[in-house]
Symmetry: C2
Subunit: 343 residues, 2 copies
DNA sequence: GTGAAAGCGCTAACAG
DNA sequence: CTGTTAGCGCTTTCAC
């Protein structure tokens, strides 16, 4: 019975004051070894567990980290969250998850900020913010770390989007492709400027290869495989379809592959496809891609907040490496078609 | 200056006592309309935000719901979490995420329970627990709801695993398959008894069709696509390989498809494959499957905790429907091979 | 309707 | 080293 047992109960049982009990349990320096022992024993016997709220109230911290994500069902987010949650758990911090899917919930969240009262710091996971939101973030008084995106001048971990894009594009170019399509992924109200690097890599790679970009070969859709399929349809419908396609994500690339197959085209014999991410199913479906360490980004973001909270210096910008993974979806372009004249 | 603004500040500015300010803001009945107005105005002007911790401490609740998951990177969990987080957000509850990946973290979590002090209720998402853990859960004093699994006699939402399995198996049987393999998914330290229904559906379907099960056609692996590929390899290595394979998940099914293709076998002409889930990439890869409403399970679980917290009656067991989705990976079995004798 | 006062459970000076 | 005394910021009887 009795309900939750409090510090007072422990103190009483150990025959010390509540203050001493508190000190003993939170491992303070100036406590006699034997006292400490007695207190711990009482706590154990009573199955005592501190109230983080009360403790936090008194101490002025919450012990919680807020994590903001725009999605949860997409692989990248789950994987990043997995890395992040692991370090936070080990550090004994609780993770408060905020999934802000639409403009309304974002508004509400950023307006109600002074998150101060809910968490000691916030991690933005693949969450691009606009001017207004950034300004709001800047003055909430708690540490901010971004992973997968840059957010103002706050510390962040991410890949080099441009470099990743170049790895993919250069691969296609080196294989000999000259007509290369790009499927841009963009989430209307979530990715503010996110894939800029991936897109500029496309243009730069083309320029470096002396290829004139054909606007008809770039199509922008949202991040789903379905949209990737649709985009490929458009590309195929253009007057002079590409022999290779560079997609901003593996999911999109897989959608593209499906459309190609349905259209009776072979991958990579007729059309090459490459994505970005190294989604687990990319290996399964033999998709060439540019791998990025996702869980590690979450992990690093976690370490950064912790460091910040501990008053340690924090690297302002960490860039994790990406790596070209050549699988079966990319190959040389088909022999040039016999052109439109009869022999 | 100033730092966080408190209720006291609001009260002062509105010219009322803190008690009245509190009542006005939390929408209590006995407050004069004009007073209420004045308080709200002050609060707005000061951008006041309550401290959930202080408020909770005083009121005896936390305003938080703990959500426990064994994984985050696998689609099912992200999707379920998405549904759950949405209702909780709308209800103004914070979501505390606990990702318990291994035995150690589980131990720690369940031992430290009296979650009482961290959350008002806990939702187990696809998280099977063992005896010891269940016993622990039963006496922590907060509401418990399970989604995707049953946990003791706590309220739960899930599909009918057996029925789902039968939909998949019956489909294969009806197509004429007699040698059907099964790839069982099991997570050593996470799925305690979870896929029992999916496995028994296999045996029952076979029995109903008068087919003698061949132990060589059942192989158990973990939930990854890679393992599905490996499992399919084993199946192919058996003396008399199956003409159809029933996998416990789409990810596993996709792994199996890959092995088949690499072995030069066509799907579904040579071997049919069916999974469970209706993973977004199942549609993309034209995989037949049994669809389950995942986000909805999270959503319902959320509503159940909220109802419980509100003291409303809660359905003890909700079963959401599954649906056979026939795509291109399943078809009739190949014509019987010419048998091992020469004409 | 509103204010005063007593905590919620814990921590942090400040004295001993 | 340990106990006493104040709160942390808010809610809630209990009177007026």
């Amino acid at each position: 019975m009795s309900g939750p047992v409090n510090l007072a109960d422990v103190a009483r049982r150990a025959g010390v004051s509540q203050a001493t009990a508190s000190r003993a349990l939170s491992g303070h320096p100036h406590v006699a070894g034997t006292t400490r022992e007695r207190v711990w024993e009482a706590a154990r016997a009573l199955e005592y567990v501190v109230s983080p709220d009360a403790s936090g109230l008194a101490r002025g911290t919450t012990g919680r980290i807020a994590v903001v994500v725009p999605h949860l069902a997409r692989w990248w987010f789950g994987a990043a969250l997995e890395g992040l949650s692991e370090v936070l758990r080990e550090a004994g911090r609780d993770l408060l998850l905020y999934r802000l899917g639409d403009a309304v919930s974002r508004q509400a969240f950023f307006d109600e900020l002074p998150t101060r009262r809910r968490a000691d710091a916030v991690v933005l996971l693949g969450f691009g913010v606009d001017e207004r939101e950034r300004e709001r973030l800047d003055r909430i008084g708690v540490g901010i770390v971004a992973a997968g995106t840059r957010v103002g001048s706050h510390p962040s971990v991410s890949i080099d989007e441009y470099a990743a894009g170049r790895q993919a594009m250069d691969h296609l170019v080196h294989l000999g492709h000259r007509r290369i399509g790009m499927i841009v992924a963009a989430d209307p109200e979530v990715d503010l400027a996110q894939p800029a690097g991936r897109s500029s890599a496309y243009r730069a790679a083309l320029a470096d290869a002396g290829i004139t970009p054909d606007p008809a070969l770039t199509v922008t859709v949202s991040w789903s495989a379905e949209d990737g399929a649709r985009a490929m349809g458009e590309l195929l419908g253009s007057p002079d379809p590409p022999t290779a396609v560079y997609a901003h994500s593996d999911e999109i690339a897989l959608g593209a592959v499906r459309t190609l197959r349905r259209s009776g085209l072979r991958v990579p014999e007729d059309v090459s496809v490459i994505g970005i991410d190294d989604h687990p199913l990319a290996a399964t479906t033999d998709l060439s891609t540019v791998a990025q360490p996702v869980g590690e980004q979450g992990d690093l973001a976690g370490r950064m907040v912790l460091a910040g909270l501990a008053g340690e210096p924090v690297d302002p910008v960490i860039t994790v490496p990406t790596r070209l993974v050549i699988r079966g979806s990319s190959g040389r372009p088909p022999a040039p078609r016999p052109a439109n004249r009869r022999p």
